[in-house]
Symmetry: D3
Subunit: 131 residues, 6 copies
């Protein structure tokens, strides 16, 4: 259904399989979601994407659940169906409650609305906001 077929463990290259193995270890699950199975057509792109994602989504100054909700917010604004589904699921797995989900959606909707209003008004940025 994609622009490339999904690759099974048997079909991917050794380099791609090594990434799958890492994903399984880090996530403590045997499940490899379709994103990685499509990316596996290009093992170097798969490796670079996974290596970076692992670092970016790790606990840091922001906690992993906040990062997943930020991911949902960006994915929603960009209209990425797959990403909205996968990161909403990930946020839930990390503790997002229905109340948090409702507030997440409300903020996303509010931001989309005022983004549009500001753009329609072409409001100039206040000096106070500039560095």
């Amino acid at each position: 259904m994609g622009t490339v077929p999904l690759l099974s463990d048997e079909e991917v290259s050794a380099d791609a399989l090594a990434v799958f193995t890492e994903i399984r270890e880090v996530r403590q699950t045997d499940f490899i979601n379709n994103f990685w199975r499509s990316l596996a057509h290009d093992p170097a792109l798969l490796r670079a994407t996974w290596d970076r994602l692992k670092v970016v989504m790790a606990p840091g100054a922001l906690d992993p659940l906040v990062k997943e909700m930020l991911y949902v917010a960006v994915s929603t604004a960009n209209g990425c169906e797959y990403c909205v589904h996968s990161h909403t699921a990930a946020a839930r797995a990390k503790g997002m409650t229905p109340e948090m989900h409702g507030e997440l959606l409300a903020v996303i909707g509010m931001a989309a609305q005022t983004n549009a209003l500001v753009t329609g008004l072409q409001t100039p940025v206040d000096d106070a906001f500039k560095e």
Copy 2:
């Protein structure tokens, strides 16, 4: 510079001024940023936007700083210059450190990248992610 002029306190209607007064009370500052001064051309739209924003951004299941960072994420994905500036400033005022800002940007950038990869690949959504 906008598609409508910015209105001073003297130029707005009584209804719009009442909204300005509420904003000043809630935010504990005399400063009214340009967004509200452009919206004031339509006092009903100003009122509806403020009334809703006040509710959506209030503390709840998500804390106000997380909400501001979500707002920055959506505004960045939507390419809204004004909103990126104003909500980055608001997030800082609510405690966003440079480290948090760096991680916020890293997540936004990562999400934009994988959103694009998934869209280019047209990866089908895993059954596991569907409700």
Copy 3:
């Protein structure tokens, strides 16, 4: 300030000048806005764009003011600063009142908000809406 300089009447090719002449006749003004002056670097692209715009924006089943407001709506959603400015000005020139402008912005903002909510919810399309 653009990625190409703006061309004056003296600098454009004969083909581009012929388009400028048509724009002046159709719009009954000597003013050629910057969009055409940047496009004039590629006279064939200038010609194709003008020829099509003239047809699309002409009175038809929809009146020209509605078409200008639709143009503002799309340009706002696409975040095109230049286009929001130029088509808001054009809509005003065709009779858009401040009340209409306020309602236009309110619809644009509402649509942006519910677009975002639907995308975050990934609501399936009702059978009733499909052809």
Copy 4:
């Protein structure tokens, strides 16, 4: 298929059911489309969205059909499949003919094209367009 299940009348809260009742009265139909059934997970968000939509889409300086076509324009630019379907259906129900639909699409396509050209050229806004 969404990120939350669709709720039937039997599954929603009393607050959500009250909104459904209002929608049925205003629209003079028993049909509640999926958007509201997904939003019903968060009765406060459902209420706020419906209350605002009702006001924004009511007859005013712009007529309801024009508002629906503006909604289609924004939804198309934002790539919202559900919204394009639902508001195209709503526009037809309010009188949009095939000719009007064709012109609507032509304006949306033209705007998308010139938005892109202007952005690629980074054409500076004419002083004449600024307030």
Copy 5:
């Protein structure tokens, strides 16, 4: 499944059929893809779109394969599922190898990421880049 039904050769107008005939001749295939079958509801829009596409995608200073990959890039950034599918297929038909596809996706992903970072940072344009 669309907002208009797909029209068969038997259902389209004579004007629309003439466009189909041209498409078949230029592309040396009997296959008319769904885009044209939906557009055929508005023969004038069909004609204008085809006439322009034919010119824009013809060999010129850029070769047709590069043009198809540019089309994929824009369609991906705009989140157009249909267009990503059809132009990826067209690029393959014109010689895009799996290696080229991988690099195309990598550039699209990288650009999306740095677009987002720049927007979040609101980095001012260097004087050196301005015309």
Copy 6:
């Protein structure tokens, strides 16, 4: 003017300066454009972005000029002013002629237009295009 100040060579950390040195070597110029000077606030993000960009934009199955034009296409679709400017300049430095620029813009505009038409029509993807 950004959400963070631009950092001079004297202000950046040793890690960030090391990236600047690599950029200067690879690009054979002393000039460090503003993007890197804003990113330098987060040396790890700067390093990850530069390391990846260097790989993605290197000659491969696609030549560097094609990659720059793809970057312009994505940046235009995403409405990133800075990126359109910087990558148009980079494409010119790598040999993009005015004719190629004109065709690049024409393809970007055409794609934006048909993306919008397809989305408005919600045309279903042809089976022939699916993998």
